[in-house]
């Protein structure tokens, strides 16, 4: 959680210094949800996120330097600089996005869960991989959400749908956009258990996550978890965040998940304060190092522009000289000379 917070704060700094551009959506305040769920997953489990995906990537194990380099648009980023803030992918850590349109990732997550079930039942592999899909309150009014709840319940897919309800979709209050604001209640009509949890308390989230993930792993099907959380910053770094009531912000600031956990640890004397301070220092250094790495990494060369458009570019036919046609200067179908 601390890594997530420090990382996001550093992102804001770097953005205002002109090191990263575009739309950057920070996760400050919601760390409990990411940590609570993802830290319970194995490397083989899949995580699907939205554009607010930096901390999901970090929780899943993507190195901070790879994420920072990706944000800087450098070739050493996790997606070679081609994805950016909103499209974090990692094959190694099974993070399949990073999607810019809301709701777009939910079907992809459903597909990953389908894959897991297929492996178990058709390919007869011992596969109990679980998929966790994160999305927000605004997405819960989108058709793809309901279509996927239906399909996941129909085929009992090993998936957990996690709603990070931070009450705001840019400037649209959840209560102004939704006829029935209780999202967890939308699971049972599809036959999916709906759970409501306080998303500012990482231990509570973890409890619920344990049960939901175990349920999916057993093959009992999907779960819908609504986490009440809040984002301390605006929707993105370009959002002036004028609509939200300062009282509301203050209320949730006082329930900062990191501070809450720290107090809990110190109250119950689980870990000495010096150790916590050491962790904080380590994280700081890690984030600094990530920035240095990203800064010193090279920007993508021009030759990278047309790489990876197709997985199989060699299949673009062979000319009379025996060379691939896309290498032919006269071949202008999308692989023109740049």
């Amino acid at each position: 959680m601390l890594l997530g917070r420090s990382f996001e704060d550093m992102c804001a700094q770097m953005y205002y210094r002109g090191k990263m551009f575009g739309f950057v959506h920070l996760y400050n305040g919601q760390e409990a949800v990411s940590t609570g769920f993802i830290r319970l997953l194995t490397d083989r489990d899949t995580v699907v996120s939205t554009y607010r995906d930096h901390v999901h990537a970090l929780s899943k194990g993507v190195p901070a330097r790879a994420v920072m380099a990706e944000l800087f648009g450098k070739t050493t980023g996790c997606c070679r600089g081609q994805g950016g803030s909103m499209h974090m992918f990692s094959r190694e850590h099974n993070l399949i996005g990073g999607f810019a349109f809301i709701g777009e990732g939910i079907p992809v997550a459903t597909g990953a869960a389908f894959s897991s079930k297929y492996r178990r039942e058709v390919l007869k592999e011992s596969c109990d991989d679980v998929t966790v899909a994160f999305f927000g309150d605004g997405t819960c009014n989108n058709g793809q959400f309901f279509e996927c709840l239906n399909m996941a319940a129909l085929w009992k897919l090993p998936i957990v749908f996690v709603v990070e309800n931070n009450l705001w979709a840019i400037g649209m209050s959840h209560f102004r956009a939704t006829s029935d604001p209780e999202i967890w209640k939308k699971g049972p009509p599809f036959g999916i258990p709906g759970v409501h949890v306080d998303g500012m308390d990482v231990l509570k989230v973890r409890e619920v996550a344990k049960e939901a993930i175990a349920r999916a792993r057993r093959g009992d099907g999907p779960t819908l978890v609504e986490c009440d959380t809040y984002r301390f910053r605006g929707h993105s770094l370009a959002d002036p965040d004028e609509l939200r009531n300062p009282d509301e912000k203050a209320h949730y600031s006082s329930r900062d998940p990191i501070a809450a956990l720290k107090n809990y640890i110190l109250e119950h004397s689980l870990v000495p304060e010096s150790k916590l301070k050491a962790i904080e220092k380590n994280i700081e250094e890690l984030v600094e190092e990530a920035v240095e790495f990203a800064d010193s990494s090279p920007a993508p060369p021009r030759s990278q522009l047309l790489e990876n458009v197709f997985a199989d570019p060699k299949g673009f036919g062979i000319g009379s000289d025996g060379k691939y046609r896309c290498e032919d200067p006269g071949f202008t179908q999308g692989t023109a000379q740049v």
Binding site: G77, R80, E104, P107, S115, M151, N308
Partner: protein
């Protein structure tokens, strides 16, 4: 990394006088790396890409179609087997599903119902309900599901009951299917095949008569092919499934009942190659899908009038086979494109600009393009007939070009 499979087949067009239809295809029974692929050239020579001829090559010199001098032989002694186009698609799909257990089908009514055009009939009882998945009516979501499954190791074939329904899946096809390989920096491949019947049928109304190739063609990262005969339907289906790229396979509602004799042996076609239907000298006619048959009908009239058209079924809508097309343009210097897409922003428009960009110096006349009218396809039979290009118009266009 999965081995890239490549098999090339070139159809030798039939000469108008002799009516011999010779076919050469190179088959491989197991995947080989591309470096050892064999290509049969238009002039009949064989060449290997790396310069080294592979040791084991099975050449099928003759297959398919009747020859004029075999009227005495009975059907049983002719090589190959006869079937309809939708059965050819099913055969291709069946063979690939048997070969690779990761291949699965998703779509509406593909399982128990057997597919709206019976392409998947019988497959559900053979492979089970999970491999031939009957989905609820949620195109965007099940297309996205197919993409997610492809990213995590499966090879789904996603069927749109009618191609037009895939407009609902445009979000997933454009943003995820086409783009994710690039956006993820090459980490994830999306080996899906998206297929379905499209095109103008018999009075199906505007929304069931859509030609999506024009809408999908700009999506970066998506490969598109259109089949037109049982032979190329099966070959393209197999190649599309084995390809690591996301491929959209366009079938046509009116072509499902075409009958043809296809080889018994396994064969695959190259996704990016065009098909020489009829070689000629006077004019190059480029077409695909159903319009191929209108062109061939017009060709009969043109031959009687003394013209010698070269007809090429471009098959690969993205990328265009500029090699075959270019060779043809360099020979005939006149180009007519006949397509079923609408005039505005259709495949013909892109093909025209590609030809002008690359082969301007070889053209003796402006590139002509016959496309459907820019109207929602009307229900009335007469109006619908006038929406698409008819053989009479093709004949008139060639006469104008060759003036």
């Amino acid at each position: 990394m999965a081995a890239v499979l490549q098999a090339a087949a070139l159809l030798m067009g039939f000469q108008s006088g002799i009516e011999r239809f010779r076919l050469r295809s190179v088959l491989r029974s197991s995947p080989v790396p591309l470096e050892r692929a064999l290509v049969v050239r238009a002039d009949g020579r064989l060449s290997a890409i790396s310069g080294v001829m592979p040791r084991s090559v099975r050449l099928i010199p003759n297959a398919v179609a009747a020859k004029a001098d075999t009227t005495g032989t009975s059907a049983a002694s002719k090589p190959g087997h006869e079937l309809l186009l939708f059965e050819a698609l099913r055969e291709g799909l069946d063979e690939e599903m048997e070969r690779d257990p990761r291949v699965c089908v998703m779509g509406e009514d593909v399982g128990h119902y057997g597919g709206s055009y019976k392409v998947t009939r019988g497959l559900a009882s053979k492979y089970g309900d999970l491999r031939i998945l009957d989905t609820p009516i949620a195109e965007n979501s099940f297309t996205g599901m197919g993409i997610g499954a492809a990213m995590t190791g499966l090879r789904p074939v996603i069927e749109g009951m009618n191609m037009g329904f895939l407009l609902l899946a445009f979000n997933q096809i454009s943003n995820n299917c086409g783009m994710l390989h690039y956006t993820s920096g090459g980490q994830f491949t999306i080996p899906v095949v998206i297929r379905g019947p499209g095109g103008v049928g018999r009075q199906l109304g505007a929304e069931h008569s859509q030609r999506l190739e024009s809408y999908f063609q700009s999506i970066p990262g998506l490969q598109m092919v259109a089949c037109s005969t049982p032979y190329n339907a099966k070959g393209l289906m197999k190649a599309a499934i084995r390809s690591e790229n996301p491929v959209v396979l366009f079938e046509h509602v009116l072509l499902y009942n075409l009958k043809e004799r296809i080889p018994d042996e396994e064969y695959m076609l190259c996704l990016e190659e065009a098909e020489m239907v009829r070689p000629g000298e006077h004019v190059t006619i480029l077409t695909y899908s159903r319009m191929r048959y209108h062109v061939m009908q017009a060709a009969k009239t043109l031959i009687n009038k003394g013209y010698d058209p070269e007809v090429i079924d471009i098959r690969s809508l993205k990328p265009f086979d500029l090699h075959t097309i270019g060779n043809s343009v360099k020979k005939t210097h006149r180009v007519l494109i006949v397509e079923e897409c609408m005039r505005t922003g259709g495949i013909g428009a892109s093909l025209r600009s590609a030809i002008i960009d690359n082969f301007w110096d070889y053209l003796d006349a402006p590139v002509m393009c016959l496309s459907s009218q820019d109207v929602p396809t009307p229900y009335a039979g007469t109006l619908e007939e006038w929406t698409v290009v008819q053989p009479v118009q093709i004949v008139a266009a060639v006469e104008q070009l060759c003036r």
